[in-house]
Structure formats: structure tokens, C-alpha cells
Symmetry: C2
Subunit: 156 residues, 2 copies
DNA sequence: CACCTTTATGATAATTTTTCTCAATGACTC
DNA sequence: GAGTCATTGAGAAAAATTATCATAAAGGTG
């Protein structure tokens, strides 16, 4: 019998549609969806600032998920595009759930708060670069840094 | 007597003007310029793809520079803006000498070759974001990924 | 629903990367 | 040239990442 995914802890909510997306994506690679994978996904989906791998390992100890699993699952989720990597205030690698399609991030250097940025049209620039350099440009990674409204000192 | 910086190995060239820049930058922070720092800088200045910290440590063993020093100097060079961090084909953190002012990079996913990109005008976008989000946008990090001319399969 | 094949898991160990400590060295100022 | 104080490298320690392998279980099949 298939594992009952509804027995999840209340503090990690996720909609069932997303679970189906996850299952389909894993299946396409010949991989299986397991409760551990769902729990890992939920942890990231609920995080607004993203998590480092060690942070995720610590948080998931509560759910008895081993660190080897955390590393494996995070890698898979990245490859499947469910997680994106961003850089925290100290340059550390953090993983963040990508809720939309192609997005970028605005990261507060003080508190690490992250806001998604959806307007970005770099296609003109990419074409120009391709013409100038001969590279076949396949994509880009763009992050903005600054101070979020709560961390911005008031002017004056 | 001040150390003779001309006794450097022939395979790591650097112009003396840059050494003066380094000295001034370190001095401004109350730090001292040492032959080790210059050697570390030269290693990076000669690398076209950037180096990870462990790679740099291995390469600098030849010059009897301890790893603690490599980590410290790379950090300083980053803070002073002489080194930039980029992400290699496998997502690993690499440090690259910044030869110009504000630049971005076009990184080959196959061979890791890096080309600098100097045209970038994101100031309009930054202003728009600031207005939309309330963030005080201070900067950005932009990387393009693709295949360099030598790694691009010929069309057809 | 029970079976079966194959992937996934977690404990553990091993490896790699990063940080810390401290005595000795040496850069830079006067 | 002397003194001050940042710097260095060896080594230990801590932290992060990867590898191994016996056991558990997902998901297809009869």
C-alpha cells in the first residue's frame, strides 16, 4: 500500500497538487517519491529565506531523516528545478523552493529575507552576448542585494 | 628591509602597478602586504577559470604557503574587491581575479572557461525593484551560463 | 492484495573542507 | 635600526560532504 502522506506534521503544510508534481517529476527520471522526499520538500517550501544543507539536516532530525538522505534529496530537487540555490548575507549556499517559473531574488544583506523578482528580460542582452562572444548562452543567474524595508535605516 | 618582490617565480607574472594597488588597499584597512599575499594574488590573476579554495591551497603548496594563509588572504582579497566569486560548471564556489571594475561573467558549463561581460545596465531594473518592493537595492550578481565556442557542437 | 524488482534509506565511516590556536616571524613606522 | 603589531604556518579541531552497505519500502505486476 502506498504511504499515507496525510500523516504529515501540521507545521509543514503542502498542497497535494504539488505532491503530484513531485511524483511525476521523480518518476520521469525513474526515481520514486518517498515520504522523506516530501518532508524535505515541505521544509524548504515553508522557508522564506532558504536553508543551507547543514541547517536542513538539523531541522529534519526531528523527523528522523538521515543526513545522507537530505543531501541526496536536495540534489535531486535542485536537478528537477524544485529548488534553486541562492547566496545568503555571508555568501553561504542556501537552497530555496522555487514557487514560480523563472525567477530571481532580492536578498536582504542584513536579515537574509528573500523576495522573488519576476520581471527580468535579459533575452536581448543574451542575444547580444551570444553575437559578441560566440557563446551559446543557455541561461543566467541573477541576484540582487540590498536592505529590506525592515532593515533599511530611515532616511534623514 | 622590505621583501624583494621581484624574486617571484617566472610562471606567476604580475605588473608592479598592481602590487602598489594591493599595498594601498591593504594599508587602508591597517593590513600589511606580504610576499604570501602577492603570491596568492598572482595565482588568481593568472587563472582564467577561477580557483576553488582547495585548488588554490594545493597550487600554493609549491610556494610553501600554508592553507590557513590561503583562506585568510582570499577572504581579504574578496573584501577588498580584488577577487570575485563565481560558480563553476558544477555549482562549486570559485574565486576569480576581477581585472576591470563592475563586471559579470559568462561561464561555459562544459569546460568552465570564463569570459567577462562588461555591458550591463540593470540600473533601470534596480530602480523599478526598489519602488516595487521597498528594498534599498545595493547591488547585484549576474552570471550567464552556456557553451563556449570550443564546446558548442556545430549546428546541423 | 501479495509478490517482486529495484530504488531509497539511515547508520556509520571516511574524506574533504574550513576554522581555530599559538609561538615565531617579519612588515612597516619612527 | 628598534619596536610594535599584523602575519604566518603547523597542527589540531570542527564542520561539511561523500561513500558504503545491509535493510526497508515504492511502485509495477499477476
Amino acid at each position: 500500500m502506498t504511504q499515507d502522506y496525510d500523516k504529515r506534521p501540521d507545521d509543514l503544510r503542502i498542497d497535494n497538487l504539488k505532491i503530484d508534481d513531485l511524483r511525476r517529476a521523480f518518476r520521469r527520471q525513474g526515481l520514486r517519491l518517498t515520504p522523506q522526499k516530501v518532508t524535505v520538500w515541505r521544509l524548504f517550501a515553508d522557508s522564506t529565506k532558504g536553508l543551507t544543507l547543514p541547517e536542513a539536516c538539523r531541522a529534519l532530525q526531528e523527523y528522523a531523516i538521515g543526513q545522507a538522505t537530505v543531501y541526496r534529496v536536495v540534489n535531486s530537487l535542485c536537478e528537477l528545478g524544485f529548488l534553486l540555490h541562492i547566496h545568503g548575507p555571508n555568501g553561504e549556499h542556501r537552497y530555496l523552493a522555487g514557487h514560480s517559473g523563472h525567477v530571481h531574488h532580492l536578498i536582504c544583506r542584513t536579515c537574509g529575507h528573500v523576495r522573488e523578482v519576476t520581471d527580468c528580460d535579459l533575452s536581448t542582452l543574451e542575444k547580444l552576448l551570444a553575437a559578441q562572444t560566440g557563446f551559446a548562452v543557455e541561461g543566467h543567474h541573477l541576484e540582487f542585494y540590498g536592505q529590506c524595508p525592515r532593515c533599511t535605516p530611515l532616511p534623514g
